[in-house]
């Protein structure tokens, strides 16, 4: 494990023949054993970054070292140190799960006996023992992702790349995959580089989060620190029947600036933090303003995204081109 140096990226750039820079000079460091969440909307440059770090796409300029090896000049060493589950769950519909694992293990040079042992172990680990001898064509989306993860783990890599591992999965499959990924990081000390467009995923899994938008990293820190940076929670109150909205605005306005709220409700960003909620309740009571509903909202990573880019994460990528795989191969 002497060379386990995580991921170091310096000014990495990728341009495609047509269109803007997909990745526009990013710098980042991932410590060994860390789970790094790379968060951004569709088309932000997440997948292009992963393709470069996994040596599948040469960078236009800049350098990166993965497990201490240069991604351009030491491709084979990089590939031997990493496992990757890439977006489309690239599987052969006519092979079974076990056959996939066996092929992968054979290419990694495991002996026939080791292949069998490793295959059984991984199938059990991702909960596919029962489906192991069925063709992948009949697998559900969640099963395919779990097989994909197992395949990435065949050679016990120290660094794992997961490109949008739960996109399109139902909530149950999603949380099953989450617990498997955290187990890998906590128990086996695997370094995980994970891209996602889901705030919750980054929040639950990542030790640190990098927010990428239009090819640039716009913020990077622990999820807690990022949220604290925006800082303050907000409170939203819905006036009770017969109570004027103005009265509520007058009371709440003492605690911070007004922000957009649900129809009919009033919301303010608390200048004094979450502790201010008690003061709000007391003030409403004192002034005799009755409310039907009162809610405290902690800042979310979406607020962070909004603050850094001026747009909301949900739907931010909709009007942009997808991550141009076609151009990448042209």
């Amino acid at each position: 494990m002497g060379r386990d140096r995580g991921i170091e990226v310096e000014n990495l750039v990728r341009e495609f023949r047509k269109g803007p820079r997909a990745v526009d000079g990013i710098d980042l460091r991932v410590q060994p054993g860390e789970v790094y969440g790379f968060l951004g909307p569709n088309g932000a440059g997440k997948s292009t970054t992963v393709l470069m770090l996994t040596t599948l796409l040469p960078p236009t300029s800049g350098t990166a070292r993965v497990a201490g090896y240069d991604i351009v000049s030491e491709g084979p060493q990089v590939r031997a140190s990493i496992g990757a589950a890439l977006q489309e769950a690239a599987l052969d519909p006519f092979l079974t799960g076990r056959e996939h694992l066996n092929l992968q293990a054979a290419l990694h040079g495991l002996s026939r006996k080791e292949r069998k042992r490793r295959g059984d172990e991984l199938l059990e680990r991702v909960g596919l023992e029962d489906a192991a001898d069925r063709r992948v064509r009949g697998y559900s989306g969640g099963m395919k992702r779990r097989l994909d993860l197992a395949l990435a783990l065949v050679h016990a890599p120290r660094i794992l790349f997961l490109d949008e591992p739960t996109t399109g999965l139902d909530p149950q499959s999603r949380s099953a995959l989450w617990s498997e990924v955290s187990r890998l990081a906590r128990e086996d000390g695997v370094t995980v580089f994970l891209t996602t467009q889901y705030l919750e995923e980054a929040d639950v899994l990542a030790d640190r989060v990098g927010i990428i938008d239009r090819g640039k990293i716009v913020a990077e820190d622990t999820p807690e620190a990022l949220k604290e940076e925006i800082g303050r929670p907000s409170v939203e109150a819905t006036p009770a029947e017969g109570v004027g909205r103005d009265a509520v605005v007058r009371v709440l306005g003492q605690f911070g600036e007004e922000i957009p709220a649900q129809p009919g409700a009033v919301a303010v960003r608390l200048s004094g933090g979450a502790a201010g909620l008690a003061d709000v309740v007391r003030a409403l009571d004192r002034e005799g303003v009755r409310v039907a509903n009162l809610r405290l909202d902690e800042p979310s990573l979406d607020d962070v995204f909004l603050e850094k880019t001026g747009r909301s994460l949900e739907g931010a990528g909709e009007h942009e081109e997808g991550e141009d795989m076609e151009t990448a191969q042209a």
Binding site: P58, R79, A90, L91, D92, G109
Partner: protein, 258 residues
């Protein structure tokens, strides 16, 4: 972790390509059925052609037997090429590229699949042909040589399919090349011997079309026996196409995988 040996890799990939083909009965059935159907219709429809003055044999069935063998190789190549293109499209190829696999092993595995399908087709067609009354003049050793030549042809076409797949990475592009291949089979001496093609331009095209020599090599074993010149040209063309196509495919792969 040491990389596996080249042969282990080729074998693992070959097994995968054979297994996936065998699990698609529709592919197998159409690979066996369509060439034989076409052969049967063509051979009976053109039976009268053997009465053209100067026709080299009195059985058009024998004459036409090269057709399904060459057509089958073409089918096999397109199937293998589009399988490879699908692997690239789906990202399966990327997954394999992340292992210590040598890119050429992937090509080897794919071509092993082509050989397996080509062998199956050659043997089945020979059996059905004999039942239909095809008479192989060069006897049992000739049948063996015939299957070998067929497999070489399949490998050559398979290499071309691989180049298309690797260069375009698109199943659609590989499949749309199919009519082109098909046309080039017809623009050869497949239906009549070259000296009986009347239109000058057609005879010229058939003479420069290497498929004519593949066809004539296979055909000589059926209608003439052991014709050294035809076999030399047939094997020469087959091996040349194979070397160029597989070499080209390997070179294309090397530029794709850094």
């Amino acid at each position: 972790m040491s990389g596996s040996s080249f042969l282990t890799q080729v074998w693992a990939l070959a097994r995968r390509s054979i297994v996936r083909t065998m699990r698609q009965p529709a592919v197998i059935v159409s690979a066996l059925l369509f060439p034989m159907m076409f052969f049967s219709i063509n051979a009976s429809g053109l039976d009268a052609a053997s009465r053209i003055p100067g026709f080299p044999t009195d059985s058009y069935l024998d004459f036409a037997f090269a057709f399904p063998l060459v057509q089958a190789s073409l089918f096999g190549a397109i199937t293998a090429g589009s399988d490879l293109a699908r692997d690239i499209e789906s990202g399966f190829f990327d997954r394999l590229s992340l292992t210590p696999m040598r890119p050429v092993a992937l090509l080897g595995g794919m071509l092993a699949g082509v050989v397996a399908l080509g062998l199956l087709q050659g043997v089945v067609f020979l059996a059905v042909g004999l039942l239909m009354g095809v008479n192989v003049s060069s006897g049992i050793p000739g049948m063996f040589v015939l299957v070998v030549l067929t497999v070489l042809v399949a490998l050559g076409f398979g290499g071309i399919g691989a180049i298309l797949a690797i260069r375009t990475g698109s199943v659609e592009a590989v499949e749309s090349a199919f009519p082109l291949f098909f046309v080039s089979i017809f623009l050869s001496s497949i239906n009549l011997p070259r000296n009986l093609i009347e239109a000058d331009w057609f005879r010229f095209v058939a003479t420069i079309n290497p498929i004519s020599y593949l066809v004539e090599g296979i055909r000589s074993l059926v209608i003439t026996g052991w014709d050294a010149q035809a076999l030399f040209l047939g094997f020469g063309c087959a091996i040349a196409i194979m070397v160029l196509a597989i070499g080209g495919a390997a070179a294309s792969l090397r530029t794709r995988v850094a």
